[in-house]
Amino acid sequence: MSAVLQVSNLRKSFGGITAVDGVSFEVREGEILGIIGPNGSGKSTLFNCVLGQLSPNGGEVRVDGKPTTGMRPCDLNRLGVSRTFQLLQVFPQLSVRDNLILAGQEHRGTMLSRLIGRADAGLGDAADQMIAFFRLSHLSSAPAGLLSYGQQKLLDAAMAFMAGPRLVLLDEPAGGVNLTMLGHLRERLQAYHAERKATFVVIEHQMEFVMALCTRVLVLAEGRIIAEGAPRDIARNPAVIEAYLGH
């Protein structure tokens, strides 16, 4: 299986602090890779470097073999790499439906066609399907700002999927979501993954969630990868336990 994402020797430091310290890993087609690690272990920084929100001090990122280091997030996204954010990132004033259409509209046509073309950029049906898929149909026309926290998490994920990406990076999707909603979310993610043959990378604290969802897990501590393997092996790995309990 070919690698969708290759990260080699990536480093990022803020002032004196080194947040990501020479991280290298690969993400294979169709897998769900979990990245875990204690707070401040550099998970989100790693994401932001991979996705061009931050420019790394060193190292390289490749998507489908193409070097993408330093590429702007919007261009990267058009290559089929999308993400969700740790903190809520929906557009509160736009309706749920508009949020989703927005998430897809830049992937088709030109600036001009987007100006003179249809208001929904021909994404109306796709959006409605996505809304139905995440069981949000009853809220379709409500401003996203009025949704509950869990519902916004769902919408956030839905937006990441809207453009049919082949690689999705999910930053703590389960964070702060109540248990019932959590089950729903995981089940939806798995369903989507199965349906679209997409590739996921998931940052998560919530161990059960990771165990249930991921096919492979990386453990990050102080900016380095200290362990890698199948979820159940990781859970037993002394280094990991040390990293979590040691602090």
Binding site: Q89, L94, D98, L102, Q105, R114, A119, P143
Partner: protein, 317 residues
């Protein structure tokens, strides 16, 4: 709610059509001024209200547009062409001026545009060979189309109203197109927008340039309306006034500028009963208005209507 809005808008449109028939030339001149300034405010509302970029240069763009027309038409350039040239020039200048918006955020952009508008004034005043300098340009002709002359006050009003209708419609179309969605996204959360493939840089410049070009087109109508232009008409004062129109009307509401311009044009006239103190009264009213409905009159209206229809939303598309 939507019906209510549509109905009200229609009523307003009808009123705009028949009002001049009841009015004397002065009244017609004022509502013509309203129509022209509304176009400029429409543009500022686009950059400020939708894309969230604070510009204090809209007045300068009105000036650039006005001078473009006043300089081109005498040398035989048909008005329509001069009008488009005004729009295009301001689009270009706006695009360039938009770049700071990419580097600096919020109030810093306001400062850049503030400096820009003062620079524009200095150029208009000092480059006499081109702009006629401090004397300004006198007797700007009112255009005529296929034998229909807009020289008469009433005709020019309908002409301005027509232009307003066309430009407003175009703006409306743009705002309900994916672009409008992108602009709002830009204002609410640029980082997320970027991660969804929005080329935020391009959209920001677009919002700025289009807003500016609307200012320019307003200027292209201002010149023949007043039939005289001078640099001092396009200083910060005008930019402030346009900003006031957008905020007072309700920034981010499509019809905000219409209401705001109406107030900015008419309120001082109503206040004139206060004789020498009319500007004082006007200033006080503005301050009170800001204190009690900072989201503008339409914001206030929306809140009022929400009381009746809890889930309704009559906000920007």
């Amino acid at each position: 709610m939507k019906w209510l809005a549509a109905g009200a808008a229609a009523a307003a449109a009808i009123f705009a059509l028949i009002a001049p028939l009841l009015l004397k030339p002065f009244g017609i001149y004022l509502i013509s001024m309203w129509a022209v300034l509304t176009i400029a405010a429409l543009g500022l509302n686009l950059t400020l209200g939708y894309a969230g970029q604070v510009s204090l240069a809209q007045g300068a763009f009105v000036g650039i547009g006005a001078y473009t027309v006043a300089l081109l038409t005498p040398v035989g350039c048909p008005f329509a062409l001069a009008f488009l040239a005004a729009g295009a020039l301001c689009f270009a200048v706006g695009w360039v001026l938009g770049y700071p918006a990419l580097r600096v955020q919020h109030h810093y952009l306001a400062f850049v545009t503030l400096a820009f508008s003062t620079l524009v004034f200095l150029v208009l005043r000092n480059e006499e060979w081109l702009t006629g300098g401090i004397y300004g340009i006198n007797g700007v002709a009112r255009p005529s189309f296929f034998g229909w002359s807009t020289f008469k006050a009433l005709n020019f009003y309908y002409f301005s109203l027509g232009m307003l209708a066309v430009l407003a419609a175009a703006t409306w179309w743009m705002l309900r197109s994916p672009w409008g969605r992108a602009f709002v996204a830009l204002r609410e959360n640029p980082v997320r927008a970027l991660s969804l493939g929005l080329d935020t840089r391009r959209y920001t410049l677009m919002a700025f340039a289009i807003g500016s070009s609307l200012g320019g087109m307003a200027g292209a109508l201002y010149a023949p309306l007043v039939q005289f232009i001078e640099p001092v008409s396009f200083t910060l004062g005008l930019s402030f006034n346009l900003l006031l129109m957008v905020i007072v009307g309700g920034s981010g509401y499509f019809f905000g500028p219409f209401v705001g311009a109406l107030i900015a044009v008419l309120l001082p006239e109503w206040m004139r009963v206060a004789q020498g103190y009319y500007l004082i009264v006007y200033a006080m009213l503005v301050m009170v208005m800001m204190a009690f409905c900072p989201s503008g009159i339409l914001g206030l209206l929306e809140r009022a209507l929400k009381a009746f229809a809890p889930r309704g939303k009559e906000a920007a598309p």
